[in-house]
Symmetry: C2
Subunit: 306 residues, 2 copies
Amino acid sequence: MKFELTILGCGSATPTSVRNPSAQVLNILERFFLIDCGEGTQVQLRKFRIKMQRINHIFISHLHGDHYFGLIGLISSMHLLGRKHALQVYAHPDLEKIIQMQLKASDTRLNYQLHFHELQYDKNTLLVDDPYYSVETIVLKHRIPCCGFLFREKPRLKSLRKEKLAEYDIPLSAIPGLREGKDYITPSGAVIPNAEITMNAPPPRAYAYCSDTAYNEQIAEQIKNVDLLYHEATFSQEQEKRANKTFHSTALQAASIAAKANVKKLIIGHYSARYKNIQPLVLEARAVFPETVPAADGEVYKVSLA
Amino acid sequence: MKFELTILGCGSATPTSVRNPSAQVLNILERFFLIDCGEGTQVQLRKFRIKMQRINHIFISHLHGDHYFGLIGLISSMHLLGRKHALQVYAHPDLEKIIQMQLKASDTRLNYQLHFHELQYDKNTLLVDDPYYSVETIVLKHRIPCCGFLFREKPRLKSLRKEKLAEYDIPLSAIPGLREGKDYITPSGAVIPNAEITMNAPPPRAYAYCSDTAYNEQIAEQIKNVDLLYHEATFSQEQEKRANKTFHSTALQAASIAAKANVKKLIIGHYSARYKNIQPLVLEARAVFPETVPAADGEVYKVSLA
């Protein structure tokens, strides 16, 4: 019952020797979602032992190169390594044109279906609606169209107290309703409260990815109470002007969003290459939101079922 | 007086954990030439301590991704790191379209001039003609238009025997002619042979890059006697059929070309990812051409002045 995030790259515009550009993989119940795909992502996947062919959905936040330059290489390697099953890519429509032009230049006809889904940037939209999870966009503020992604498990059905089923002689036909939370009405018309017969399922887990963005309080409501929030912290508060100018956030601002949204844990990342040591960014964020951790390439964050 | 080749990547289509895709840097007298630019090249440059801004010429053999997917990232990083001076790229014209589309998608206006030069693939052409060196194409045989590159130093002027200048009381005005090899005619009409007054300069050095290509004897004449030949050896001879089918060469074929061209040293590379251990490829080549060495990422080959 995994819900597990692996950071493949947490650098920003220019890669450094220790930080690849943006990319991460979210594993929800053994479905693998790739979020952004900076240059070198395919090698990072190999390094951190995540099988590229298990990725069926790729979400690209925006078309700055540090978030997508690795996509064509990954798509090509998936092809060369024999992929047959479809791949879904959620991105700005220009990305499809770029990728198709690159495939044409190398005279490549993919062995698998590559489906592009056009993102909208002006409002939250539901991208994937599966029985077990959903993915929706988060409206971000950046120099070019950009959005974040919110991954949520669907609520689980309640489990049943077997002794109560026997006690009230509950028929099978009533079970689905009970698991969804309905009360039980006995043949004589008595109401048995659902809580007496069932146990609550563990709450669904959620992860929000917010990179790249200027400080934007409006997202707090949408990402309220998520288990994990990755929020960019390109700069420290000292560089607030530069952050504003470039539509990025400071560590303090990331922490403010985490506090307003009452998330359980904040992961900061997308650090400017100027920060060899990111400890000052971490301390700055923790002063506002103590449950802050710094992203690092290869780091894994697990959310257990409560 | 450097003439020095650094391998940045010697893998083929899919990168492995130890081999990046094709890229190398040739340093001729402190001019830096980048030859091919697979994904991850900018990180390799950093790793092997070659300053990216010193590269002014980039040569892309063909548009299979393992030879150019790293170019847009390098171009972007050059921009972000403040480059002001022009960059020359020699490639198939489709590459310019791809790069321009990528720059447009990210709303990037480069701070420096990016000049694309269209390659021709049906005949050898002179690409760069500098007082100190030249670069020309080598016609290769691949699935899509592809060429190699031949880098040559220009011949150096002869140096003078000072005692002879005094002995024959040679005027300054005669010096340039003597250094170019002319005999000296004394005021009384006597001919002093050039060899008596000058010493030969060390011969110009040359490097030939041949990847990707099917076996093609016709290149031997053009690359005759070069100091260094990099020739792809994607497969071993056991896989000759596969090599033919995919327009690649075997190690044995690479060695045959080296022998026919009488080169001084052969570097094999562009190994298929199937070869974890490339020793069998090396032995296969050495049986035909003993002066064979295997490329490895980070390896440096120096050619001294004779």
